[in-house]
Symmetry: C2
Subunit: 342 residues, 2 copies
Amino acid sequence: MSVSIYDIAKKAGVSPSTVSRALEDHPRIGATTRKRIQELAREMDYVPSTVAKSLAANKTWTIGMVLATISDPFMGRVIEGVEQAAIEAGFNVFISTSQNDRQREIAAIKMLQKRRVDGIIVIASHLFDQYPRFFGHSKVPIVIINEQEPWETMHFVTVDDVHAAQSAVEHLLASGHRRIGYVGITNRPKSNQYRLRGYQDALEAVGIAPDPALIFTSHTIEDHAKVGEASLKPLLACGATAVFCFNDTTAIGLLSACYKRGLSVPDKFSIIGFDDIDMAAYTIPPLTTIRQPRFELGQRAMHMMLALLAGQKPENQIVPGELVVRQTTARLLPGNNRAAAG
Amino acid sequence: MSVSIYDIAKKAGVSPSTVSRALEDHPRIGATTRKRIQELAREMDYVPSTVAKSLAANKTWTIGMVLATISDPFMGRVIEGVEQAAIEAGFNVFISTSQNDRQREIAAIKMLQKRRVDGIIVIASHLFDQYPRFFGHSKVPIVIINEQEPWETMHFVTVDDVHAAQSAVEHLLASGHRRIGYVGITNRPKSNQYRLRGYQDALEAVGIAPDPALIFTSHTIEDHAKVGEASLKPLLACGATAVFCFNDTTAIGLLSACYKRGLSVPDKFSIIGFDDIDMAAYTIPPLTTIRQPRFELGQRAMHMMLALLAGQKPENQIVPGELVVRQTTARLLPGNNRAAAG
DNA sequence: TTGTATGCGTTATCAA
DNA sequence: TTGATAACGCATACAA
């Protein structure tokens, strides 16, 4: 057991409540007593117990965060954005990963409930549809990152997936590409769906009917880079000259496959990713992508959470993605469609 | 306020302790009562409070983890290893980042102390020297990842930095390189020091006196990839034909600089990294590196923590790194020293 | 087998 | 300005 306000009170010859007030800089306390107690507390290495405080206050100053995996290079900055905003407001973040497993995610949610977190921020969930069931009667605010579901009890901040994806494909179209592929992934169903829609919208806007053969998705591969890798062959087979990838990791896998096959990027084949992870500027050649404001996304989610905790009714937020043109995309050269298909 | 055992007790017409026992599958409880209470609890959406439990038990089932940044691609799997082992033992992990800032790290430690975590796992700290001061009198076990300090109160599990670095350089030597550079970083002083020593040891073992000019470190750049990028010019200037980098991120920065300069890797210049992050297999060309068992490192740290919590006296652990030869290293071709220097 | 009482560390209400 | 007391939710020692 560590030293408590009782120990200090005893040593100081005052009551525990006096100690409590002195330590909290409570107004109703004598300046002399306050100083004396504070010094004594320091001497005795007193460390206040958040546990006890939480029980009494019915508040834990903790925001739970559930996400699929920390290894995803997209996540780090988002988490740090959440943490930054949390710290500034006197909160801390309790992170739990689902590892893309529904049971684990359920366990994570239950854990956070038991720990009485004040709010929950969710990203890359595998069971959004179950959230109302879990949180329907609880008053714990929920903020979701990168989803746009219209549930009443759930609020969100998201990148504008559809339009961002659209602008990625428009960039490819503007470079003369017509056979444009999409590499999707299955373990982020919602985001994948939005980005696919943006892809289709962009195509249809210029009168190109989306060709299912150009849409690659693997239901057997979980690893994003490997999905990108596996997509090259089939995409080439149906004449793609450019590809929009679900994210940068996928794009890097695809880029790597091109390298191994001796297919020159961007001369013969254009690739555009999504996220703008740290590595994107260092691939060879540097990756053209859609930048998500990752840190800001996290910050905004936390700010929205704080507003909810303050009883406010914040607006859901949709922030734009930004096209970052680097060197994996280029103008389609005449004859390249065939060269690529060969 | 959520529903408590008192609410259930009232509704069931029994005492709170009976409810407590029923819910805990305590031996001293009637099977009928147990079942009835458990069903009632479910109906009432009862969620036990870890906060209250923690206060009563003087135990939080929480391991605090302090690290520099989650964005470092090295960290993700380590954290997940810790989390995995923690979950299996009924614990959860409370992560806090220092963002390479000493004040932030101190704040993180204090936060964890206030929250009464049962143990602390540290990685990439900026103030190891202060840990005894913070934790000297506290009984909270500390496990450090990737440090090898001989403090009594602190235990560690680490990759064998020195020997792993040595084998990296030996690989370069075996390929005929003699002018081998080292790219170090400053915000992981300890690891950097160990790896640098391994580098020097390997050189000296074959009778090469380490040349300070071949050791690149930037005190102004924090970003690892940028350090690697900035190192190319000076390293080339002093005739390096191969470089051992502090980590893969650094190596990727260097690789990118080579690409921009038109310097062919590995034909004209060899690069070896450290960590084997997920991206390492997908760089162009794929990166030769030293593999750290990241997930395992995390798992081991947590297992050591569990042993400490069980009152045992576990041995510190040093696990080997493993050379992974991919394609950024090659035999030194005659004449290349000059070509590289030019 | 079940109930009663107490403690865990803190804050807040009320009284002095 | 300070002190006594209750409350937060749970587990447990002890009593019935």
